[in-house]
């Protein structure tokens, strides 16, 4: 029988599309629903963050880091401040570091919850989206109480944090942790074993260890392919060496493995917060020098500092020429690196798998188009 002749069709997925998680455009060549070619086109959200940094005082750039990965602003705040602190060779008060860890881990859970909800929405289940946002709200309430903002927190400062925790805040966080523990357990029960969900995710979007290393992927994506790297463990920063927690890894490297890694990580973060709340001492929340924003003038030099954000390795490369403004700031944004695998991963897949694979990368476009 003669083979049926088919033609390919160009399909623009995005920049306005419900499942591109922001303004992302994928130019697809499809044969029916099968993808023949996928070209990611970025830049719709480009703001020139790195260039802007050169025009600001060191501390004035902190709010811009919030707006990169706006779902995980605390870690972005932290890593920028930590990089500058390393240039300055400052010691940070212990209480401030504890507050940083608590806020970062709360933010990681909030970020994973948004991912969990939107990912299931991509796969066609709407209820989890609303459940996830309910619990994210609880976390945002806590972060709001301590920072005064609900998304772009701008809480960490060079030398410490902006404010001390309000009266009774730690106890509230402990309550929240208990509540989240139960709810995330429910989410796990609700979705992880669902047969349709498993049929949609197991074996889909497989990434080998080699792929992960060759493309420089990090975070839950790398750990989903069995790579045991978590900067909190392998190169502990802040106070992470004081806490007992595990690095969650899965071997399969498919979409389902990445899902399980993120669910596991939420429990680990809760564990860290619990310990940090128990251990937090009284004391200063910022070094004396840190209060004099205008005076922050790191000695000439350069530094690369990295941290484990909810999406992978976030890094800040800063060069100082001894003045009160950075000479150069270069940001390693995990989403930007992680999204690069997409073009290789999508060929031969269907549009339905595209949504599942793209969602599993947990991309935030603010971070891709810095």
């Amino acid at each position: 029988m003669a083979e049926l002749k088919t033609e390919t069709m160009t399909l623009n997925m995005g920049p306005q599309h419900p499942s591109t998680h922001g303004v992302f455009r994928l130019q697809l060549k499809v044969d029916g629903e099968t993808i023949v070619e996928a070209v990611p086109i970025m830049g719709y959200l480009h703001r020139g963050s790195e260039k802007l940094a050169e025009g600001f005082l060191y501390s004035q750039f902190i709010p811009y880091t919030d707006r990169l990965d706006y779902l995980n602003a605390m870690t972005n705040n932290y890593i920028y401040c930590a990089a500058i602190e390393e240039l300055l060779e400052w010691d940070i008060p212990e209480r401030a570091e504890y507050l940083r860890v608590i806020t970062m881990e709360l933010n990681r859970i909030a970020s994973h919850l948004v991912w969990w909800g939107t990912y299931l929405l991509d796969i066609g289940a709407m209820s989890p989206f609303l459940y996830a946002f309910r619990d994210r709200e609880t976390i945002l309430d806590r972060l709001n109480e301590i920072s005064g903002a609900r998304m772009t927190f701008n809480y960490h400062r060079i030398g410490g944090v902006k404010w001390d925790a309000p009266e009774g805040w730690i106890a509230k966080v402990q309550e929240t942790v208990k509540e989240l523990y139960e709810n995330i357990q429910t989410f796990d029960t609700l979705v992880t074993g669902n047969e349709i969900f498993q049929a949609r995710t197991i074996g889909v979007g497989r990434l080998s260890k080699e792929d992960v290393i060759n493309w420089g992927l990090s975070g839950p994506i790398a750990r989903g392919s069995g790579i045991d790297i978590d900067i909190r463990k392998t190169e502990p920063y802040s106070l992470y060496d004081r806490f007992d927690f595990d690095v969650v890894t899965e071997e399969e490297g498919d979409v389902y493995a990445r899902y399980k890694v993120r669910i596991g990580e939420m429990f680990q973060s809760l564990k860290i917060i619990e310990q940090a709340c128990d251990q937090i001492p009284d004391g200063d929340i910022i070094t004396k020098k840190g209060k004099r924003i205008m005076m922050i003038k790191p000695p000439a030099g350069e530094v690369y500092k990295r941290a484990e954000a909810s999406k992978g390795e976030i890094g800040v490369y800063a060069i100082s020429n001894g003045k009160n403004k950075p000479y150069r700031i270069k940001l390693r944004r995990p989403s930007f690196v992680n999204v690069s695998i997409l073009q290789a991963l999508l060929v031969g897949e269907s549009i339905q798998n595209l949504v599942a694979i793209f969602g599993s990368l947990d991309v935030v476009l603010g971070e891709v188009d810095a």
């Binding site: 499942s19 796969i123 209820s127 049929a199 339905q352």
Partner: protein, 319 residues
């Protein structure tokens, strides 16, 4: 006189149906709202009852947009063609021992034959929109409807073998005589029927033709205002009709304890079936096209065939 009565019956059914669809939409939003821990519409009228009425008014007043490069005639005709068969099948549903439309002896066959025309509306809508998402959605829709029409029909054959008639009244009366609804002896068929009807109706987890996260809105992406409303109307009318057929075939139609009139029992059963669909919508993720097709052809059709064979053997054995 007969024609006048037929006309009046049609108008009455249409009015009841419009009300039914309006409140089915409200009920769906409420049910899903409760499952998703949110109140759902509750601002207009008591318990939000005026919400969907407001929605309908809004939809009817919206600007009617037809894309510049759309095939206008087909674009305009598509929603009508989707709605007309869904409404036509109401003619053979029997609501109680005394209330019903045409009491024809090929009722079930008419129902299944006419309802399958809806897919033409879906295909025309998606094709004429000149939108790639709409096209993909409509192709998915047709593939799905064609595949699931088969298990749906096959699942009913067992009942037809037992009753020996395609007449809806006969089917209900047989259940009354037997003292048991067909859901018990034909349970396998009921499961196949329910799953295939979900696929036929494009409801979750088989809502592939409109899959929002993949195809924006699928075959009706380009439709706005009252044309969009027509598609919605068709979908819900068909849903009510299929639930009505399930009630007649498997749940004993209007049969029930005498303290409520037959039609109330009938409507309650329709509501119960629809509730199951709403519940599933709120619970399940969406299946993939190939999985859907595999499930239809490799699981449901063999199951339905097995049911037919077993039913036939029992029928012969019972004499």
């Amino acid at each position: 006189m007969d024609y006048l009565l037929m006309f009046l019956y049609a108008v009455a059914v249409l009015i009841v149906l419009l009300g039914g669809v309006t409140f089915a939409i409200l009920a769906e939003r409420k049910v899903i709202g409760y499952i998703q821990l949110r109140p759902g519409p509750n601002r207009h009228g008591p318990w939000g009852t005026a919400q969907t009425i407001a929605d309908v008014v809004k939809l009817l007043l919206k600007e009617d947009i037809i894309p510049a490069k759309a095939d206008k005639k087909i674009f305009v005709l598509a929603p009508v063609l989707a709605f007309a068969p869904a409404f036509s099948v109401m003619a053979v549903l029997v609501y109680s021992s005394s209330i019903g439309g045409a009491d024809i002896n090929i009722g079930v066959l008419y129902f299944l034959g006419v309802s399958s025309i809806t897919m033409l509306g879906v295909l025309m809508g998606g094709w004429s929109s000149n939108n790639k998402y709409a096209l993909l959605g409509s192709i998915r829709g047709v593939a799905q409807m064609v595949s699931y029409e088969l298990p749906l029909i096959l699942s009913i054959v067992g009942i037809i073998i037992l009753v020996g008639s395609l007449n809806m009244t006969d089917i209900v009366n047989y259940q009354a005589d037997m003292g048991m609804w067909f859901i018990v002896p034909q349970f396998l068929a009921f499961i196949v029927y329910m799953i295939s009807s979900i696929a036929e109706l494009n409801r979750s987890p088989f809502d592939l033709p409109e899959a929002e996260s993949e195809l924006v809105a699928g075959y009706f992406t380009e439709y706005s205002g009252f044309r969009f409303a027509m598609f919605m109307l068709a979908e819900y009318t068909y849903a009510i009709a299929i639930a009505g057929l399930a009630t007649t075939l498997f749940l004993g139609g209007w049969l029930g304890p005498a303290f409520l009139p037959g039609i109330v029992w009938f409507l309650l059963k329709v509501c119960a079936v629809m509730f199951i669909w709403f519940w599933l919508t709120a619970t399940l993720p969406r299946a993939r096209v190939d999985q859907l097709m595999n499930f239809g052809w490799k699981v449901l059709i063999p199951l339905a065939l097995l049911n037919i064979v077993v039913t036939a053997i029992i029928k012969v054995w019972m004499g």
